[in-house]
Amino acid sequence: MAARQVKTSDGGEAHRSGSIGPSPDPDAPSGNEVPAVSLRSISKRFGGVVAVDDASLNVAPGEVHALLGENGAGKTSLMNVLAGLYRPDRGAIWLNGREVHIASPEDAKRLGIGMVHQEQRLVGRFTAPENVAIGHREPRWFTPTRYFRRLAAQLNARYGLHVDAATPVWNLPIGRRQRVELVKLLHHGARILILDEPTANLAPAEVETFFRAIRDLTGAGCTVIFITHKLDEVLRYTDRVTVMRAGRVVASMATHETSREALNRLMVGELGERVGPATRAPGEVILAVRGLTLDDPTRAVNPRDVTFEVRAGEVLAVAGVAGNGQAGLVEAITGHIADYRGSVVVLGHELRELGARRTADLGVAYIPEDRREVGLVGGQSVAVNLALRRFDRPPYSRGGWVDYTAIRRDAVELIGRYGIRPPDPDVPVAQLSGGNQQRVVIARELSGDPKLIVADNFTRGLDPRSTQQFSDELFAHRDRGAAVVWITSDLGEALSCDRIAILNRGRLVAVLDRAEATRERVGLLMSGDLPAHESA
């Protein structure tokens, strides 16, 4: 098959803009097909966090290519590089056998690359044709209704949009809105479509329709890259699949050559050395959650009737794909919200009446997921950040005056004990690497020997060595007699815990003992592919 030219609606605009190198492609994979997209050794770091690590990807023209991985595997970051939103630190992008340089979304657009993001980027008050016209050959001065009616008719004829030219898009069902986004990209000349978890908000019937539409597009010469963590959709609807894990591409194969189990294993990786099980029998109940239900309208998924217990000397994993109600659960068991139904009791105290501060005073340590924004105050020094829990009481303050000398003295000790680098209590914490920032949070939260530790995805974005070190720390506290709740989206981490509670769509679908939890079973429960009753 000859190299398919990237055609825009203006007819080959791609050839005069964007900087397309003149040389033919020396690294083209053998075989008769030149990939429509070839990403070569792309790396992207954010501060100390490696988002994409030497990732390569080939996508043949006209195929539906799944980019599969867990949350935080780097899928979206890699695709943001292709869409011109991020500039890679290293690596090259080739389109149809020629190297291109994509410095901005405009460059990507000129080269025929379009991305549908997870959050929809339509203007709610505008109609579908208005949204489609924004930013591309829109009428210069006036925007007459007639123009949009004509455009709508054209779009309907060309792409089967089937929408009223007069309805604002916020009135459309979500599946329709997604179609508007697709049509917008096509109208803007996109022939390589990147879809970031497009089915996340779709009902099953809509998913079917959606993929039929995608097939029509590839039939018409488009190439589709489809970011997902849903195995089902990969197996049913895609031609090829590339699996990413921890920023790296770990495998790429034709979809019909693989299986659900194989993909699952590739996606979550092999376990490191499992930490030994608890040596002592669990002690008294530290945290008891009964029928916890939230109704926070700002979240898509809230905890529903969640019930579990955690005892002294055990680590309970709350495993689940992000966005399945973890956020609300964490806020409830750390005393940050009071408007929940059911009960949350820590050491005999109902948290509803306590509030965050007095909950912490009970001996509840909380390592938040977002250490930069929540766990730390970036502009303040390491010393102040280490004292954040106690700066307003003796010995750090007396009579309303802060004793910065005392704060600094204790900080020096903690910096030494936890190996924080650089070992300078006065440096603003924002200047530390991700791992060292997490050390500051852990030093602050765990140095007081807490009775309950709530750790929310606390290894996210850290290198393997720090990850190992921090989970060891957590298990050391378990062996000391602390109760630990570890919220995690990582299957390997979940399986290292003493018990695993699996959260799906706000409900605890199963609570398994370490002995009965297998990788496949937990993975499938997490993805919602295995109904809860099958696991019982």
Binding site: R87, T298, R299, V321, G379, D392
Partner: protein
């Protein structure tokens, strides 16, 4: 803190230099020798006893206003309403004076000051309460209240409180001498200077040494972290709003009791806005801000010198003043941009200030949610 090497400091110098260069060019276009004019501004402000005396008198309200603003901005409470608070303070003090014309000064003068403090605080608490209760943007509310305060003042000085012997000019009668703030010798420098200095030193002490000051910075620099720690942002916001408004009110009282000895329309001379420029130049640090107060007061006073000496409108010094603000803001934005695509991590207290106000103004059409989530952000990919 390595101030000299820090990025905001560099941006600051760059903006200042650019503004002065622009000013010199501007004067060149007006066909005057730019260096002579610039020199005349400086000499007019600081070169003579009269100039210095007027400069210090002008710095008094700026000290009070910027001390309050400093506190509010450090908590990221963007109080644009100090002009209104200052106006209301002047009105309150004048009211006490006008309705008790025969009472003894030792009783009335403190009452004037106290009522100004109280009314100013109440005025700034309006936007703070609306923000805490409903998530309303304090920028819009406090800005709008400035006009309300100014109209109330206008109304009073042309109606009920108008001086019957004022020959039609809008303004009240002069207060009796017992209600005047003591002055330093024969100068315009009144007791308000002491209040201003005390306020600025107190703000410095509070921010750098006290538990409450650290809370202000924590709420300002890490609202979500403060929530995580169980610090009540609402309490901090209400407190800084109240204190900043009170100091604004005191600035107004100082003008009527110390300088003009009567209430007249436009008593604030928009110093409530000028104070935003001052704290921006001062990078939200008390000592730098105090210096900025003096410098800006000098430019305001020196401008009149230009008018006398060169026949240029005194607005010429306003051009310099606001060019400085513009330059400093843009240099800060530029410095932010240079930092590039790093994670969205803001530097410390000195972030933005006026730049942040301006961008908040631009963004404030979007409503603030009643509460921001604290736990895991629901993201993936």
């Amino acid at each position: 803190m390595t101030f000299a090497a820090s990025r905001p400091a560099f941006a600051w110098l760059l903006g200042l230099g650019g503004a002065i260069a622009f000013f010199l060019l501007f004067v060149l276009v007006l066909d005057r020798n730019p260096f002579t004019v610039f020199g005349a501004v400086l000499v007019g402000a600081f070169g003579s006893d009269v100039g210095l005396n007027r400069t210090i008198a002008r710095a008094i309200p700026l000290l009070l206003l910027s001390a309050g603003l400093l506190l509010a901005f450090r908590a990221k409470f963007w109080n644009i309403g100090l002009n209104g608070a200052m106006y209301m303070g002047a009105i309150a003090a004048s009211g006490v004076a006008l309705y008790n014309p025969t009472a003894p000064g030792w009783l009335i003068l403190p009452l004037m000051l106290l009522s100004a403090l109280a009314v100013g605080a109440a005025w700034s608490l309006i936007p703070a309460l609306l923000r805490v209760w409903f998530g309303a943007s304090e920028i819009i509310v406090s800005l709008m209240l400035n006009y309300v305060a100014a109209r109330i003042g206008d109304f009073l000085v042309i109606s009920y409180w108008k001086d019957p012997n004022g020959r039609g000019f809008p303004g009240t009668a002069t207060f009796q001498e017992g209600f005047w703030l003591p002055r330093l010798g024969s100068s315009n420098v009144h007791l308000g200077l002491l209040f201003g200095v005390v306020a600025m030193v107190a703000v410095w002490l509070v921010l750098s040494r006290t538990v409450w000051g650290l809370r202000v910075d924590l709420v300002g620099q890490g609202a979500r972290a403060a929530q995580y720690l169980g610090i009540s942002s609402a309490a901090v916001l209400l407190a800084v709003a109240g204190v900043s408004g009170a100091l604004g009110g005191l600035a107004g009282a100082g003008e009527v009791a110390g300088l003009n000895h009567r209430l007249e329309a436009g008593v604030t001379q928009d110093l409530g806005y000028t104070a935003i420029l001052v704290v921006s130049l001062g990078l939200l640090r008390p000592w730098l801000t105090a210096v900025a107060c003096l410098a800006v007061a000098g430019l305001l006073v020196g401008g009149t010198q230009v008018q006398l000496q060169f026949g240029l409108p005194s607005a010429v010094s306003g051009v310099l003043l606001w060019a400085i603000l513009y330059g400093v803001i843009n240099a800060q934005n530029l410095a932010e941009r240079w930092k590039g695509g790093a994670p969205p991590f803001r530097p410390a207290a000195r972030e933005g200030t006026a730049a942040a106000v301006v961008s908040r103004l631009a963004a404030s059409s979007g409503a603030r949610g009643p509460r921001d989530g604290l736990g895991s952000s629901e993201r993936s990919g």
